[in-house]
Amino acid sequence: MLNLWMRTSALISLLVVVVMLGFLLQQSWPYWQHDGLNPLLSGDWYPYEHLFGLAAAIIGSFWAALIALAIAIPTGLAAAVMSTEILPGPWRSLMRSGMELLAGIPSVVYGLLGLWILLPLLQSNLHLLTGHNLLAAGLLLSVMVLPTIMVMTQDALCEVSSHQRDTAASLGMGWSARLWRVLLPQAWPGIRSGILLALGRALGETMAVMLVVGSMDRIPDPWYNLLAPAQTLTSRIGREIGESAFGSMHFSALMACGLLLALITITISMLAHIRSDKISVNRP
């Protein structure tokens, strides 16, 4: 009985992965068969003309995630350093609670905040036609991934042994030298995992991005123009999945978006997992 339960559970876990990837591939197969990998290079997405180019959405997804990381990495690292290396104990846990609170706010609430605070701000301060753009998505995402980076960095910094800290201090190294030459290098594997997880989360976030990105299937022109409405993979799926008929080419193309997203994020989380695999696999 116990044995059956244990093995069924493990099998279900395995089955979930197989079923998910299998059906995504099966449903997106007509799409891949239709055009091969060409649509990955084209930005034209006109479902009624059977043009399903993914380039605009892929580029948009990565741009939004990169903006998010560019803001969240320095801030998150600084916040983690501040809470573990500068602030005394009670403040540390207060900051941590703040971060957990930030992490607990559902993404759709962030969407609401973005729609009501961020977009009008961007629109009026940058004199834009509309605040809907990649920058807005990136800014919103940076708030959402900040807790991931900060908490992972905090854990990694706390794991650096007190012997290392004391030894560095008794060699007369100053605060910043200890930080740059001892603490950050030794915490790097943990920090790296945090950054990769944050990247995965930023790429896969749907609701908040969908509300602020503008949903225009256009490759940014010029390529660094982040102030025009754009599209991401997740926002494309979220907006169009309801309107595509099951089994149609449109549906298949959306499934291809999903498969692509899954493959990218799986690669990222595996990279984060492999190096940070510190959990020993011994019998408890």
Binding site: L119, G214, S215, M216, E240, G242, E243, F246
Partner: protein, 276 residues
């Protein structure tokens, strides 16, 4: 542990089942233009027939029609005609009932309207959506770039608008600068901007979101109920609900309710033109 949890699961299931054995739940999905009518009517209908519950979700006309093809809803809502491809898939298994008429208003931000743009010809609107006209100044308005709002490809409003203005229901709009989804989302976009143009059912017009007249010179026509009734407004349409021929009889009764004087009163209150 495991047995307990399955017990609870079963209890929830049975409890939910036993809640009201005679109850019927119908599901309506589709156009957000039709949604307010059906949503309000569903609530009124439920008060009269407590054993019938009608759940309503949006998604657009494309969803309404697709959900009939896929049998994921009992009542489809559409604010445009069914196209050939969809008709082939439906294969005559669905009845289409027209419950109301509506104009797709060409709307501009309040600042643009106040700035002098009160009417545009179909050609000028087409040029805006094709990206040939980019500034309101060209059209006699304030010196401001035009924020051209397009709608998601599946929305009925867009089909009707694109057919009348661009000549094809699925025509591209290369001049568009942002895409919106529901009527509400578009209404918010226009209201928040000072230089926007968009397309909206005339039930959504208000002080911040002004409808403009469409046509040449003094033949331009404002999108109001009177002009929809006499079919003089060029971008108008019928609002439909779709019923499967083999669907539950309660769905048909609800459709009859929509066409009854009480239902049509709701249509009128929602800002559309009753058909009866």
């Amino acid at each position: 542990m495991q047995r307990i949890s399955y017990f609870i699961l079963a209890a929830v299931f049975l409890g939910a089942q036993a809640h009201d054995a005679a109850a019927v739940t119908l599901h309506a999905a589709g156009s957000t233009t039709v949604l307010p009518v059906v949503s309000t009517a569903a609530a009124a209908y439920h008060r009269q027939h407590p054993d019938v519950t009608i759940t309503v979700s949006g998604g657009g006309s494309g969803v309404g029609i697709a959900s009939m093809i896929q049998h994921t809803a009992d009542i489809g809502m559409a604010s445009r005609e069914i196209d050939a491809e969809e008709a082939a898939k439906l294969n005559g298994k669905v009845d289409v009932l027209t419950i109301a008429k509506d104009a797709v208003a060409v709307v501009v931000s309040k600042a643009v309207y106040v700035g002098g743009v009160h009417q545009l010809s179909l050609r000028q609107i087409a040029d805006i959506y094709r990206g040939k006209i980019k500034n309101w100044e060209t059209l006699g308005g304030p010196d401001a770039q035009i924020l051209v709002i397009d709608k998601e490809a599946s929305r009925g409003t867009r089909h009707v608008f694109a057919e009348a203005v661009l000549g094809d229901a699925h025509a591209r709009a290369p001049g568009a600068s942002v895409i919106s989804g529901s009527n509400n989302e578009e209404q918010a976009l226009v209201a928040h901007s000072d230089q926007a143009i968009g397309m909206l059912s005339n039930a959504w017009l208000n002080d911040d979101v002004r409808g403009i007249a469409v046509g040449e010179g003094n033949k331009a026509i404002f999108p109001d109920i009177g002009h929809v009734r006499d079919s003089s407004y060029p971008i108008s349409r019928s609002l439909h609900i779709l019923l499967s021929k083999k669907g539950p009889p309660e769905a048909r009764e609800f459709a009859n309710f929509l066409l009854s004087p009480q239902g049509q009163a709701i249509v009128k209150k929602s800002g559309y033109l009753p058909v009866r």
